[in-house]
């Protein structure tokens, strides 16, 4: 059964990645611009046209579209992601360092959003229709609808006025003192044993992470609120009460537990939304990230980089979906992988 699950997952993942590659290549193909020109280094002079011709051949852009598509996909699946046309650096390098920067924000955001959301959502469910519940409901409605980039700009300016420095990923004074291992300043500063740098990096990551967490937080609150109040009417919850199991313990073990699979599934999807959110917010806070890298790659038809970034993002998705599935399985014994 496990084998079948893994097999299914792998096949599905390959299909998704194939789809991403094919679709992005099609889009790039129909977009105006000449990748060969960028690749060869914007040549000038009498040899320019010839050089571009050579580059077109090198990149295989003269071949029929379906052959190009075939070559691009096979190249990506053989883990030869190639070199960014614009930056001349390996795509994997750029994609991974962008992803690490984004994940810094994203992971902290979800680490904040999920437990806090569960707590607040549970309170709302337990005191359904109370004033507090209504307040929470209104607040989450506002949070879900709020324009995050606006909030981001506002937050940044307010923090600035309060003399809290949150621009960029780490203070410039710390930057040279840290040896880069993982690419995440938060982790690398700890590895370098620089607690002060760690705190600085964390301080700078928190505001964007908090902003990114608003949406998943509001969503978690809502899901928990609705499904928990459903579960509180569930036969086995009432049965547990009858057995004399009471209070928060009963809620936790007999109601909340069954909310987690739903939550895990929805969070797996929400990450997609948050990735878009992250891109906007990161640019306000002067951080690096996948979204920003993508914005820099697209106008140049830097298709290896575009595809690389999208593939990395899809892999991140697939991982989050799989994690959601595994969480579901761990919590609910009736689901078999």
């Amino acid at each position: 059964m496990l084998l079948a699950y893994v097999l299914k997952r792998v096949v599905l993942s390959i299909l998704i990645i194939f789809g991403v590659i094919a679709l992005s290549y099609v889009l790039i193909y129909i977009m105006p611009g000449n990748p060969a020109y960028t690749w060869v280094g914007k040549p000038k002079g009498p040899k320019a046209a010839e050089a571009i011709q050579i580059a077109v051949r090198e990149l295989g852009l003269d071949k029929p579209f379906y052959i190009q598509l075939y070559e691009v996909t096979t190249r990506f699946f053989s883990f030869n992601w190639g070199v960014s046309l614009r930056f001349k650096q390996p795509v994997a390098t750029i994609a991974i360092r962008s992803l690490v920067a984004t994940l810094e924000v994203l992971i902290i955001a979800y680490v904040i959003a999920i437990p806090l959301g569960i707590l607040i959502g549970s309170i709302a469910a337990l005191y359904r229709s109370s004033l507090g519940d209504k307040a929470i409901y209104t607040l989450t409605s506002i949070l879900i609808a709020s324009p995050r980039f606006w909030l981001a700009a506002l937050t940044l300016i307010i923090l600035q006025a309060l003399n809290v420095n949150v621009f960029g990923r780490i203070g410039v004074e710390y930057q040279p003192t840290i040896t880069i291992v993982t690419g995440s300043y938060i982790i690398d500063s700890l590895i370098s044993g620089r607690i002060d740098a760690f705190l600085d990096a964390l301080t700078r990551t928190l505001p964007p992470a908090l902003l990114v967490s608003l949406y998943p937080f509001a969503l978690v609150v809502r899901i928990v609120r609705i499904s928990l109040s459903e579960k509180l009417h569930e036969e086995y919850f009432r049965q547990a009460l009858s057995y004399g199991i009471s209070g928060w313990y009963a809620v936790k073990r007999y109601a909340l537990r069954s909310v987690i699979p739903v939550l895990a599934q929805i969070m797996g999807i929400t990450i997609a939304y948050s990735l878009v959110d992250v891109a906007t917010i990161e640019s306000v806070f002067g951080r690096e990230g996948v979204g920003i890298a993508l914005a820099k790659a697209i106008p140049y038809n830097d298709y290896p980089l575009i595809i690389g970034l999208l593939t990395v993002v899809s892999i991140a998705f697939i991982i989050s979906f799989t994690v959601a599935d595994i969480v579901h399985k761990l919590v609910d014994p009736r689901v078999r992988i």
Binding site: E234, E235, Y236, F237, R238, Q239, A240, L241, S242, Y243, G244, I245, S246, Y249, R253, Y254, R257, S258, V331, D332, P333, R334
Partner: protein, 316 residues
Amino acid sequence: MDINSESIVKAEGLSIGYETDEGILWAVKEVSFEVPKTSVFCIVGESGSGKTTLGNAISGLLPPYVLTQGYLVVDNIVVINNDKNNLKAARGIAVRIPQNPSSALNPYLKVRALFEDVMKSKAKNVSKAEVREAIVKYLSIMQLDEEVLELYPYQLSGGMAQRVAIALALAAKPRIIVADEPTSNLDAYLRSSVGSLLKRLIEFGITVIVITHDIVFASHVCNYIVVMYGGRVVEVGKVEEVLSQPLHPYTMLLIEAATLKKVFTNSMRVSAIEGVGESGCVYKSKCPYRVNTCQAVPLLKYVSKTHGVACWRAVT
């Protein structure tokens, strides 16, 4: 209010209702009865008779927004005192056995964890060994193997799940077990086995309250019987008395219908608008013997020490 030391549950003028758009809907109306200690006590009625609400009141499972009147005392605890209620106090003392055991056991936990949760809620400082010992004891009472402990509820058959639910109820060390339609989801041959299991619980000093629509099942299991209709108690008494000498027309109908002896064609032509009357005897619209006096609510009158009936015909 005084409580007979011989009874463990006492209801007096108990009404339970809910607020709806059309005003208050009383599911249980002015019900009075006493449940003798260590007896099997049946509440019989069809759906909508208020029997499940009554069972939930005894086991403390009414929702917080419920409206109450009258008194309900469970094991010397005043659970309902007019509009004040302390429903939580009854939980763990009067334990409900679910109608559908497979949906009433937490699907996310193994049977062992369910046992541990129940036992820990009763006594905080029990050692692991004690817990294990107790679990084994309850399982053996219910003729279950220890293997079930490692199973999840979805892996149990209906009969096994029912017995696990009863074993869990025992682990909660209750004074009362309320069995709500314990057989409705079971195959015929399992019904009799559940019935005999329930009867055995008396040996542990537990009072069993069985809620059922099946008067035949009730007659095989119970010592006492309360027949409810339209939220009211229409007849009460020892099982022999009620079965051999049913006084209320509804009780008679129940017995005859259950044994499929007679067909009541005269009760069939009931139009959709006619239902349970707003005033008067709850059964008047279906009663073959109805007379003018049925416009008033008959009080429960005792014809013997234990046998009571709420019917004008029986009284006059």
